[in-house]
């Protein structure tokens, strides 16, 4: 569920007030080759078995009756990754990245959360402890404190959330900012200049926030929506990460994965969402240009969904799902899965894909080998209570 109001709704509701005009993106100098990290929070419980169907598992078609995607080569069939796993046909760009060894799929993975509430599950995913509300700040923010000095030189804010409200994942004491397009009619430049000058003269705190917002708008290429909501945010994320004084880490959110009904079909919510996620990867890669080679994107959800179809052509809240990794810095082109199987006896509580990989182990591997964060900091501060989730090695392409 995430937030009660989607940006799409906001745009619709403000209707008359809004004059949405695209601003030309600013040409930004390509930044030095520092490492970048992008977290995409997939809110609502993504169906990993649809996003990455294990078409080669002999039990797949039976277990997923009604939801199974045809095998590679068939009409509407999965896009082949290896002999067991494929990607949903909507993830065509991701599939191309896989071919270029810039995508890595981790299957049967999840956070340590084992119940089925969106709210608790997302809270745990973001707070980085082993329980909901276990911390009041987020693991991404805590990770920023462990970045090596060389990685942070020149950056004003170390992280940016492309969201109107700071997500818990990036909340904390390390300097971060957030940005989202404005839906109200834009003030004139002259009015903004006068307000900025007034703040500079009369109120240092407001001046600081205002100048930060201005800098953020400059990095994002204005503060008007640029395409569909998520497209707009993905483009902006790339601009932020490119900027010389810009953040090293970006957090994106994509909601709408709670697919209890009609999952299959060209116009299903799941199909649209997968296509949006796919396009987002494309926009990130294109937007980042050469910096894509220094970037790793991690996308995951608060939990997976039930293996069996429910009574309405959808699936209900489950456990194991996928973690999708992308980026030019990745040692990609492979699938990482200790596959638990889909026979009734293999399932978690007789209904869900069993989790065999702790998502924290994957993220720790990226943060250690790609971002250069010390393992002690990861174990103690970023993901406390994660001693059993040893960092996965070898995820990053050797330099």
């Amino acid at each position: 569920m995430g937030t009660i109001l989607s940006r799409r709704m906001s745009l619709g509701l403000l209707g008359g007030l809004v004059g949405v005009a695209g601003l030309p993106g600013l040409a930004l100098a390509s930044a030095a080759t520092r490492k970048r990290f992008v977290l995409v929070i997939l809110r609502g419980g993504m169906d990993g078995l649809s996003a990455a169907p294990p078409y080669g598992d002999p039990d797949y078609v039976t277990a997923r009756a009604g939801l199974a995607i045809p095998g590679p080569g068939e009409a509407g069939g999965a896009l082949k990754l290896d002999g067991t796993f494929g990607l949903a046909p909507e993830l065509a760009y991701a599939h191309a990245l896989y071919g270029a060894k810039e995508l890595l799929l981790v299957h049967a993975a999840a956070t340590p959360y084992r119940d089925r509430s969106h709210f608790d599950g997302q809270n745990l995913l973001e707070n980085g402890t082993a329980k909901p509300y276990g911390a009041s700040d987020g693991w991404v923010n805590r990770a920023l404190a462990g970045l090596p000095p060389a990685a942070t030189a020149g950056a004003k804010d170390l992280g940016v959330a492309l969201a109107s409200r700071m997500p818990l994942a990036l909340t904390g004491s390390a300097p971060v900012t957030n940005w989202s397009p404005t839906v109200a009619p834009p003030p004139t430049d002259d009015t903004l200049a006068r307000i900025g000058a007034l703040y500079d003269e009369a109120d240092p705190m407001l001046a600081d926030a205002f100048r930060k917002a201005e800098a953020a708008n400059a990095m994002a290429g204005g503060n008007r929506p640029d395409g569909d909501p998520y497209q707009s945010l993905a483009r902006a994320a790339a601009r932020f990460l490119l900027a010389e004084e810009g953040p090293r880490v970006a957090v994106l959110e994509l909601g709408g994965w709670d697919t209890h009904a009609r999952q299959l079909g060209a116009y299903s919510a799941l199909g649209r969402n997968l296509a949006t996620l796919d396009l987002g990867l494309k926009l990130l890669k294109e937007g980042l240009g050469p910096v894509w080679n220094e970037t790793i994107v991690v996308a995951l959800s608060e939990f997976g969904r039930t293996v069996a179809m429910n009574g309405s052509g959808g699936s209900d809240h489950g456990t194991g799902g996928i973690v999708l990794l992308a980026g030019g810095a990745l040692a990609g082109g492979r699938v990482l899965a200790d596959w638990p199987g889909l026979k009734p006896k293999d399932l978690y509580e007789s209904r869900d894909l069993r989790t065999t990989t702790d998502a924290r182990a994957v993220i720790k591997g990226i943060l250690a080998d790609h971002m250069g964060i010390a393992e002690a900091h990861l174990a103690r501060t970023v993901f406390p209570d994660s001693a059993d989730a040893k960092p996965v090695a070898g995820l990053v392409r050797p330099a």
Binding site: I4, H118, L198, F210, S312
Partner: protein
Amino acid sequence: MAIGEKALTEAAIAANRFGLGSRPGDLAEIAGDPRGWLKAQLAPETSLPAPLKSLPSTLDDLRAFTLWLKSLRDEIEDAGMSPADIRPQTPGEMIEQSKGGKGFSVEGSFVKYFIPRLQTALKARFDTAVTTPRPFFERLVHFWSNHFVVSSAKPATIAMPPSFERDVARAHATGRFHDMLLASTKHPAMLVYLDNIQSVGPSSPFAKSPPPEREYDFQDVAPRPKGLNENLAREILELHTLGVHGGYTQADVTSFAKVITGWGLARPTLGLLGRLAMPGDLKGADLFGFDPAKHEPGPQTIMGKTYPDTGVEQGLAVLADIARHPSTATFVATKLARHFAADDPPPALVARLAKRFLDTEGDLAAVMASLIDSPEPWDEPLRKFKRPEEFIVSTFRAGPGPLLTGPMLMVILNEMGQLPYYQPGPDGWSDTADQWMGADAVWKRVDWSVAAARGLATAEKDPSRLASDVLGPTLGEATAKAIARAESPAQGLALLLASPEFQRR
């Protein structure tokens, strides 16, 4: 007769810091006796403000969720399915089931059903704040409904915050703290929000010989309870009374949770939930019920004192003690001092308010009178940064803004990060500037200032005059100059609304 600068400054503090923003002409009126103007507002409300009169009753809000579930069941049966097909697996999943065939989503239905309700309530709260002649009292209502929090962010209580606010914060804002604590703790909205209706004493008759399992019943507002749930007990101690460092332990929380097992909805209420006929305008307290079968038998010890098992009286005795505990006095005094004096509350003020709280056994009118008579809230204007809701409200009090519907209000406040009735957690909205001065939030306030100024400008106002009218001597030279030099009235008004003086209180 000219009014002195000190008198006008105090009038501006009374109207803007204690109140919800001055209307043109307010300062001159208040300047004679700002403290008297505030104290007059400590009298309880004689009738509900007009915008709130047509809002649904607590019973209706409570039934809303159940009635929605019922309508859902009808649709499911229409589709030839059985409610068992969508039996929830866990509480969190309750609203997440679905009905097939027509692309019907339970979540979509839920949002469609409840968002208009919330928008209506939001607009009523907003209109009350903009039009009230008792803005200090109204601020206190907002303060207490951010202390005793029930949030729409929890699906099962999505419809309840407005009537909870009316029954708890509005009814007792200047009454006795103990009464407000009781009104909150016995309110069905709180009992649902913090899960006490799901709490069962581990040795209670209910737990030892549970009634036979029924097929899932849509008249229940929650799945069958199985054991102790500490949520409400913990938050009462941590957030409502003693404060997190108030001197209690985890064992105290568990004991207190056992004490309030059985606190829930009256049996007749449960029966009424699914019926369509409305049995009158029942308030929260009328819907409370104690179920001895779920109550944990035996004495319980909390913070060193043992309370014998006297049924519902056991919990009442604990609440009476913690309501007048010194930690509670300090906790409440600290929050009030933070709200009315400074983000970093002056210790002398906290001590004075806490003492008054203890001396009067939590008489909030007496505590507020002591606050009004204290020097700290008056000694430096503009120390507090307005939160988004009060900022928007104050722009409308300064003059007619653009036509704002409930849905638009919802979007604007959501973008600024403070959608009323939608606090992210039971600890409520933060009361310090650092939480509200994020870059994105400030930018949206600037955007809003410019948009609102366009509406104001049609009234052919002189921005400089309006600025001194609502800000008095707290208007600084830089802002006055910037407004005077504006290229148009609309730009001058935008500069006024975006100015540091107007963003603060």
